[in-house]
């Protein structure tokens, strides 16, 4: 291979890797579970590449060695070749694969031992409800949030997952394999984040028109930071601190908003849409659709279906002043 070709190859690989740096990669594991799954992948990749090289090599070899063809004879040798290559070799390789299967399954199940933080995740079309049950270490009250799963670093998390409507699937490639959310049943998933960070998650089971925009974030924090967040969320949501926010709260309670959403400690207690009690702290809106900025939120409130066709939140007729006030109120929550 010429040096120039090598250069092209390197440039191509660089391009591919560069563009993928941001991707939520299964090969960039950040939990003991995902690490074990990634190592299973690399073991099978090595095995698979070897098998491919040998068999494809054989095929190419049959083509390049031009020998006189003949129709008969050599049946015994042929049979030996078929049995050795088609039965014995696959059985040997598959035995290794079976071992990898059993070994990895057992390891993943035991990768995060010890008492776990219990969190309930409920799938909705097309957003995620995240519930921290009451109790826990300090007897905190229950907390409900949406589209962000906050967890402490280094402590196992035990998720109990269910669905409010159709099938969904919970997938954070850097932290764990996926598990389905099934209406009328519960499933579980256990993992622990190794270091602080924000990890991309997505729904992996087709769930209707906005399946693509049913994303979420897992935010892993140092245990101290997580415990402070958890304690703060126990109480009522932040009260308005300015006249604008107060007007926003009043408008929120008067407008259709309160008919679907909850803000803890206020008259808004509906549960059709996401709980907004800590909305101001969330990084995205519309389940990962847009960055949570005042401008995006204003557009979202006025006409959510325009941004996310099919979303269940209807367009809402509000004056610009009301919108600004509601945005100010919501962005201050948390």
């Amino acid at each position: 291979m010429s040096r120039r070709r090598l250069g092209w190859a390197a440039a191509g690989a660089g391009l591919a890797l560069g563009s993928c740096r941001a991707a939520p990669s299964t090969l960039d594991p950040r939990s003991p579970e995902a690490r074990r799954l990634a190592s299973a992948w690399w073991q099978m990749f090595a095995l698979g590449a070897a098998v491919y090289a040998v068999v494809a090599g054989l095929i190419v070899w049959t083509l390049v060695r031009r020998r006189a063809g003949h129709r008969d004879g050599g049946a015994d040798r042929e049979r030996l070749f078929v049995v050795a290559g088609g039965v014995a070799a696959p059985v040997a390789v598959l035995a290794v694969v079976a071992f990898i299967t059993v070994d990895t399954t057992a390891d993943v199940g035991a990768a995060s031992p010890g008492p776990a933080l219990a969190v309930e995740v409920v799938g909705h079309t097309w957003w995620w409800e995240v519930r921290y049950p009451a109790g826990g270490r300090a007897g905190e009250p229950a907390v409900v949030t949406a589209n962000e799963l906050r967890i402490p670093v280094g402590r196992p998390v035990q998720l109990t997952l269910s669905s409010a409507d159709v099938l969904h699937s919970f997938w954070v490639p850097e932290l764990a394999g996926k598990v389905d959310l099934i209406p009328g049943a519960t499933t579980t998933l256990r993992f622990s984040a190794e270091r602080p960070g924000t990890y991309q998650g997505a729904c992996a089971e087709f769930c209707g028109i906005q399946h693509a925009n049913m994303r979420f974030l897992v935010v892993a924090e140092e245990p101290g930071g997580f415990d402070r967040w958890r304690a703060r969320q126990g109480g009522p949501a932040a009260a308005p601190t300015s006249e604008l926010e107060a007007r926003g709260q009043a408008a929120f309670m008067g407008a259709p908003c309160a008919g679907c959403h909850t803000v803890r400690g206020t008259p808004a207690t509906a549960t059709l849409g996401p709980d907004l009690s800590d909305f101001g702290t969330r990084r995205t809106l519309g389940a990962g659709l847009l960055p949570n900025t005042a401008a995006n939120l204003a557009r979202w409130i006025v006409d959510a279906p325009e941004l996310k066709p099919g979303v269940l939140m209807p367009p809402i007729a509000l004056s610009p002043a009301e919108v600004d006030a509601i945005v100010a109120y919501l962005e201050a929550l948390g």
Partner: protein, 637 residues
């Protein structure tokens, strides 16, 4: 070697033609029961669906070429990916293989038609009407949008109002009728209509693969028919088989669907391997290595494939012990596939491969299926599947299997057998160009999808954000898809060109080993005036080639051209084929198309919930069916 092409003297030829010819024009089109016309029609019709579904894929790839694409909205995207899968599986892959089997089985077996010629016509009409039924959803503007798998509860009445999912559910039940009656016909034909000398251990491998496929169809299709029927029952009549809130189970649907769905992959794959098992020996100038091992492997795959369906449900939280059984079965099925692989390699190893277009497609198949098989083993590894499941890794895997390991053999088979069917050779130069474009573009279109899956890209998303880092690879995938589409277009051009301008095809252009090469290209309506007798597993190669079978007393008299003149063919019995009866081959009749039309009206009545339409369909279908049963004797004599 001596090849006895069936060229009867002109006078007899004319008499045979009078007995066998269809009506001219449209009446002939509607009433023919000739397995060759029906087979070719099956192939052309399914290719129409292939190109339609391919264009849908290109529209989807245009949308995904860049982050935040604006080509299609979410609704259109979801409709297209649902119909792309539905069409490719139900209306292209399955029927195109049935088309080849329809055309080739009687010729390979040395008989004058299928066992049930009218049923054969019926299965084509049902396929066509079911395909049009599902396609009508585009005309009505209510297209199925629940995926080709239509998982509940997304697809129940509450979550998917409108007709879209009804087109899907009723269409699946409808087309299943065609697949099932076709399978029955293949089995009976292979077991009862074999030429003298063709013992079961001499059956061509393609015939074996079709028999194995047909048995799988008979056991698997009822499951998907049941799933779709119960789904429609929930949707139309308010039952609650799959309603979790009312005592139903959504997982039950998944079990039923995949109990068919995974065997279906092998239902498609087995006939494709059968085709490859003819192409490779022919172009290697060498008999297939390990015939008994190959046939045993086909049958083993058919059995084991019924024990792997749960690997589509590894993320549903089923008990680990239950899932490990299915993971193990999914690994085990790789062994018979390995046998097939090494039999093909051994054949080439001891032969001298010649790289004509069909052989190129066979080699492309080997290299692509090898990778698809390896990634198949990977996704059967339970813990790895938790990552790969429903990601683009799986999209890559099953396109390597269903596109690479089924479509490539089908294209190879087209170049190999179409000259026999049309009497015209395809252009070798255009064929090679088509192959190379398809092969290279295939890698660009589907290989990067493995990486995208590992990088966390889920399936069935109509858009993705810029920040996720999937843009560059998706652009490569889209470019590859467009090029792949162009490559298939070259073959389309080639086929159209050859029908007008192609060089006339000799009887045996490739030096093939099975009986279809002993008759003319295209074969006469009666296939063989005198039924040939075969002297070995390779009818054309062994013992100096086939010779006209010696007619005997009783039913064996039908072996002679007199049998063809009487529009009949001998029925054989047991492992050693001996003529035990004479099968009268039905004359052209409108009954099959009438029964199928009755069914189409019936399903339309269900769709629009109009009792009157439904009853009209029932009366038409039942009336034609009763006449069919009534008129058997009168029709024939």
């Amino acid at each position: 070697m001596a090849v006895v092409a069936d060229r009867p003297a002109p006078a007899r030829h004319e008499r045979l033609a009078r007995v066998w010819e269809d009506h001219p024009g449209l009446p002939g089109f509607l009433s023919t029961v000739d397995h060759k016309r029906i087979g070719l029609r099956y192939i052309y019709t399914s290719f129409a669906f292939f190109f339609a579904a391919g264009l849908m894929a290109l529209a989807m790839r245009a949308q995904l070429a860049q982050p935040d694409g604006q080509v299609l909205g979410p609704q259109a995207y979801n409709e297209l990916f649902s119909m792309h899968g539905t069409m490719m599986i139900f209306l292209f892959n399955t029927p195109v293989l049935a088309g080849f089997a329809n055309y080739l089985l009687p010729l390979m077996l040395g008989t004058r038609d299928m066992a049930f010629p009218r049923l054969n016509a019926f299965s084509y009409w049902v396929f066509l009407f079911a395909g049009l039924f599902m396609s009508a959803s585009f005309v009505v503007g209510q297209v199925p949008d629940g995926g080709w798998f239509a998982y509940v509860p997304l697809t129940n009445r509450a979550n998917s109002p409108g007709l879209g999912l009804d087109f899907w559910g009723l269409g699946v039940v409808f087309v299943g009728i065609s697949t099932t009656v076709g399978a029955v016909n293949f089995i009976v034909t292979a077991f009862k209509l074999r030429a003298p000398g063709m013992t079961v251990d001499r059956l061509p491998v393609f015939v074996w693969s079709v028999v194995a496929m047909a048995f799988m169809v008979i056991f698997a299709v009822p499951a998907v028919t049941l799933a779709a029927t119960l789904l429609e029952s929930d949707r139309l009549f308010g039952t609650s088989f799959f309603e979790p809130g009312r005592g139903g189970s959504s997982l039950l649907y998944q079990h039923l669907f995949w109990f068919w769905g995974h065997p279906e992959v092998y239902i498609l794959f087995l006939p494709a391997t059968g085709m490859i098992s003819h192409i490779i020996p022919t172009f290697s100038r060498r008999r297939l290595a390990g015939y008994l091992w190959v046939v045993t492997s086909l049958i083993a795959i058919a059995f084991i494939s019924f024990g792997v369906w749960v690997h589509h449900m590894f993320a549903t939280g089923l008990p680990a012990l239950a899932m490990s059984f299915f993971a193990a079965a999914s690994l085990v099925i790789a062994v018979p596939s390995g046998v097939l692989f090494f039999a093909w390699i051994a054949t080439m190893w001891h032969g001298r491969p010649q790289l004509h277009t069909p052989m190129l497609f066979a080699l492309g198949f080997l290299l692509i299926f090898l990778l698809g098989g390896i990634t198949g083993v990977m996704v059967s590894v339970l813990p790895f599947d938790w990552q790969a499941h429903d990601s683009y890794f799986v999209v890559a895997h099953f396109h390597y299997v269903l596109n690479g390991a089924v479509v490539f053999p089908i294209f190879g088979a087209l170049y190999y057998w179409l000259p026999k069917m049309t009497g015209r050779m395809l252009s070798e130069r255009l064929g090679r160009a088509s192959f190379w474009v398809m092969f290279v573009a295939f890698q660009a279109a589907f290989f990067p999808m493995h990486v995208l899956g590992l990088l966390g890209m889920p399936r069935r998303i109509y858009t993705y954000a810029d920040g996720l880092g999937w843009g560059a690879l998706n652009l490569v995938v889209t470019a590859g898809s467009v090029a792949f589409g162009l490559g298939t277009g070259l073959t389309l051009v080639n086929v159209v060109w050859s029908r007008r301008r192609g060089r006339p095809a000799p009887d045996d252009p490739w030096g093939g080993d099975s009986l279809e090469w002993s008759t003319t290209s295209p074969p006469p309506h009666w296939n063989f005036a005198a039924v040939p007798a075969v002297a070995g597993r390779h009818a054309m190669w062994d013992g100096g080639g086939p010779v006209p079978a010696a007619p005997g007393p009783g039913p064996a008299a039908a072996l002679a051209p007199g049998g063809a003149l009487a529009r009949s063919t001998p029925v054989t019995d047991g492992l050693e084929p001996r003529a035990e009866a004479v099968l009268d081959i039905a004359r052209p009749t409108y009954l099959p198309v009438l029964v199928a039309a009755g069914l189409a009206v019936f399903f339309t009545g269900l769709l629009v919930q109009a009792a009157l339409v439904l009853v009209v369909g029932l009366v038409l279908g039942t009336g034609a069916l009763v006449t069919w049963a009534w008129r058997t004797e009168g029709d024939l004599r």
